[in-house]
């Protein structure tokens, strides 16, 4: 027990502040309580971090530019369904106050930590600090794309800071990395850490070289072939030697392989690969189940696996789901049998499910989450149930129907993320009525230049009517006008509520006048919001 009396009082105060904020003031109380407490106790983070390290419970840290919140929530949801008590910052408060607030919130009043596992999404900038305090068992890196350059600086620097902070640890957390993204993957390059990799399945090869490919779109990166062969990517230079990288793409224009002809840095072989099946089903296939098992079979993780499996086992022992598959490794006091073979048998070569969230980019988030929970021995059924019934968080492929209006809300904060969201929406829609909530507060990124790297030109015929709100609506208006969208279709209203009301009216009229053909007579609204406007919208919509 590393906590002192002061810390115990802090737990009480934290819960009290949070209660006041959430219940009385109806605000989200994720950040402020800890902000206040830290003003009075500079050692607060250190003390709680020491306590967490001492009780030795598994910690999973998720970081990267896009997909952190979704990946974190997918993992937490699987573990919850498996019966674990999960401590997580599921609301996406991923700076120091949000992270340690979530942790302190999981303590009971007597100072005992009341969760089996910690799943924390971490902002890229505070990641080095967080892992220097709390020992992670697993680190998931989703991807690195350019993001709010005024806050983060250049993306290579962000990546190197993260890589170096992992290297400087005394322990060797397992790294879960995409092999389709050269910067994220580089975090694991030349490290002693155990690594698990994921990627799309290679289906069709389009070209050998990143620099001479004639493309109009590359997944995950902002690409525009406007006039002349212009391809924009976020990582053209080799993170190891600085030469130009070559890459191969699949039929969806996702990078599936890259290599450096100068120094030999190249994409790793993946542990799992994803493939889209018929009827929107997804299949993850292991490259080599035995090799995967050998990677996850190690002494220092058996404790964590036991931890999960204990609760998993006790939760499901009376339930048909997974009762027979409960995996306990040696030393497991509930399940004494020597079950290492059992686990091998339990890793199926293929895992298929129907994802509850759409979007090609979400496949990567599903894969990262899948590797994490497979690492802890969760069985396929639990994962399938969790993945198929996963409810999206507000702003992450969020969808809600209320009084004949379908609200679709996506957070947009950088070019790659925005392009992904547009790709997802226009895969299934001919044209849409859209609300843009666009601001430049610190958390949004104060520089609005990034919208010029979003490929709106590709979709100019697909926007029906547009209302823009937020603090910087006219910057977005110019961007959309320049892309070729008729300026008369673009209206601005600084008031978020009124702007929403306006677009609903327009959309309802469209449906009533059969301007938009929809067999369900449903009025659909698509909302693109920067970070700080999300909470304003959430108050109105949810």
């Amino acid at each position: 027990m590393n906590l002192n009396i002061k810390n115990n009082i802090e737990i009480i105060l934290y819960k009290f502040f949070k209660l006041i904020l959430v219940v009385v003031l109806r605000r989200n109380g994720d950040v402020l309580p800890l902000y206040l407490l830290r003003k009075f106790d500079k050692n607060l983070v250190d003390n709680f971090a020491k306590d967490i390290n001492a009780i030795n419970i598994p910690v999973i840290i998720i970081t990267g530019t896009n997909g952190k919140t979704t990946t974190t929530n997918l993992i937490a949801s699987c573990l919850n369904n498996a019966g674990s008590k999960v401590c997580s910052n599921v609301n996406g408060a991923n700076m120091i106050n949000g992270i340690f607030g979530s942790i302190i919130g999981c303590y009971s009043f007597n100072g005992k930590f009341n969760a089996d596992i910690i799943v924390i999404e971490t902002d890229e900038k505070v990641f080095p600090y967080v892992i220097s305090k709390i020992n992670p068992d697993i680190i998931v890196i989703t991807n690195f794309y350019r993001d709010q350059l005024d806050r983060y600086g250049e993306v290579n620097t962000t990546m190197l800071n993260i890589k170096n902070s992992i290297k400087s640890l005394k322990t060797y957390p397992v790294l879960i990395l995409p092999t389709n993204e050269p910067l994220a993957s580089f975090v694991g390059f030349n490290t002693k850490n155990k690594k698990l990799h994921f990627n799309f399945k290679s289906i069709k090869k389009l070209s050998d070289k990143l620099d001479d490919i004639d493309i109009t779109e590359v997944f995950g990166v902002s690409v525009k072939k406007n006039s002349g062969n212009i391809a924009f990517t976020d990582a053209v230079s080799c993170p190891q030697c600085g030469s130009i990288l070559s890459a191969e793409f699949n039929d969806k224009y996702a990078i599936i392989k890259y290599y450096c002809n100068s120094c030999g840095y190249k994409s790793n072989i993946s542990d799992i690969e994803a493939e889209i099946l018929e009827d929107d089903y997804l299949n993850f296939s292991f490259n080599n189940t035995e090799e995967f098992f050998s990677k996850i079979k190690s002494n220092n993780i058996s404790d964590m696996q036991n931890n999960i499996n204990k609760s998993y086992y006790s939760n499901y022992s009376n339930n048909s789901i997974g009762a027979n598959d409960a995996n306990c490794k040696n030393n497991c006091d509930i399940h004494n049998a020597n079950t290492s073979n059992h686990i091998i048998n339990n890793i199926n070569k293929n895992f298929s499910f129907k994802p509850s969230i759409q979007g090609y980019y979400n496949i990567l988030n599903y894969m990262a989450a899948f590797l994490v929970v497979k690492y802890y021995g969760l069985n396929d059924e639990i994962i399938k149930i969790s993945f198929e019934n996963y409810f999206t968080k507000f702003g992450r492929s969020f969808k809600k129907t209320f009084k004949g209006v379908e609200y679709n809300v996506d957070l947009v904060k950088n070019p790659s993320g925005f392009n992904n969201v547009l790709g997802k929406i226009f895969e299934k829609n001919n044209y849409i009525n859209a609300l843009f909530a666009f601001s430049d507060r610190d958390a949004d990124g104060r520089d609005v230049s990034w919208i010029w790297d979003v490929n709106f030109e590709k979709y100019i015929d697909k926007f029906n009517n547009i209302i823009i709100t937020g603090l910087r609506p006219y910057d977005m208006a110019i961007r959309l006008k320049t892309a070729g969208i008729n300026a008369e279709k673009i209206k601005v209203n600084y008031n978020v509520g009124k702007a929403l009301y306006e677009i609903i009216n327009i959309s309802n009229n469209d449906v009533n006048n059969n301007n938009i053909t929809d067999d369900k007579k449903l009025s659909r609204i698509y909302i693109f919001s920067t970070y700080t406007e999300l909470s304003n919208l959430e108050k109105i919509i949810v």
Binding site: I230, W452, A477, R479, T482
Partner: protein, 257 residues
């Protein structure tokens, strides 16, 4: 339209010098020129490629990541230097932003005191000064009777020689180095600046100045004449309001110089 006007633009290293949304300059230039009945063809010129100065009216280069800018230094000297110098002397237009601007100065001194040679279009140099903070934020400067606004984000500090004309006097923000109140540089019709935003859509009047220079260069006709003869009326409502939305610059934007 009484005219069939065409301008040729070149985007330098589009796949490398592209991280701060500076391609918005080209997109907006093309868009705005189209309102005046002028067609803009945009071509690209990357590593190992050359371009024909005579056939080019305007060149664009944006900012890149330090790690990626290193890819182009050699090529810039070998394949672009002479063409750009000729272009400058011929009165052609160039808009260079941030990292691209730094390449047009005499040299860049890196953190480890290495000198990276520039092409000396502008007389001055840039130094990485690691102990000083990054210069980031909204910025406004005075250029002739216009207020130019944008967003700067650079760690390198640029010092111009006394004889080198700057692009603007800083009214808010940092500019070249945060000390001497200069922002960017001008030489003939070559512009260097730290402003992202992108700068042209943020400053439609400056965009018009560039279009005016381009049509005067190529067709010996002023933009005003084109506007008058064709009775062109442009709605600048979005553009004007976007400038007013920049809260940091509220007091400056309505000022007249």
């Amino acid at each position: 339209m009484n005219y069939n006007l065409n301008l040729n633009a070149i985007d330098l290293y589009p796949e490398i010098m592209n991280i701060y949304g500076d391609r918005g300059n080209m997109l907006y230039f093309k868009y705005r020129a189209s309102l005046y009945g002028i067609t803009v063809n945009i071509g690209s010129c990357s590593i190992g490629e050359k371009f024909d100065t005579d056939k080019t009216d305007i060149m664009f280069i944006g900012g890149g990541q330090d790690s990626e800018q290193a890819l182009i230094y050699k090529d810039f000297i070998t394949n672009k230097k002479n063409a750009l110098k000729d272009a400058k002397d011929a009165g052609k237009i160039m808009l260079s932003i941030c990292g691209g601007y730094q390449l047009l100065l005499n040299y860049y001194k890196t953190l480890d005191n290495k000198i990276i040679e520039g092409i000396s279009i502008f007389d001055g140099y840039t130094a990485a000064e690691p102990k000083k903070p990054r210069l980031t934020g909204n910025i406004a400067s005075a250029f002739k009777d216009k207020i130019i606004v944008g967003f700067e984000n650079h760690s390198g500090r640029t010092y111009l020689s006394e004889s080198q004309q700057n692009f603007g006097k800083v009214l808010f923000g940092f500019g070249n180095n945060g000390v001497d109140k200069t922002e960017g540089a001008i030489s003939n019709n070559f512009y260097g600046t730290y402003m992202h935003g992108s700068i042209l859509p943020k400053n439609f009047q400056f965009c018009d100045i560039i279009i005016d220079t381009a049509v005067k260069n190529k067709y010996k006709i002023a933009l005003n004449e084109i506007i008058k003869k064709n009775n062109i009326n442009i709605d600048n409502n979005f553009e004007i309001n976007a400038r007013k939305d920049i809260r940091d610059l509220k007091k400056i934007i309505n000022r007249t110089i």
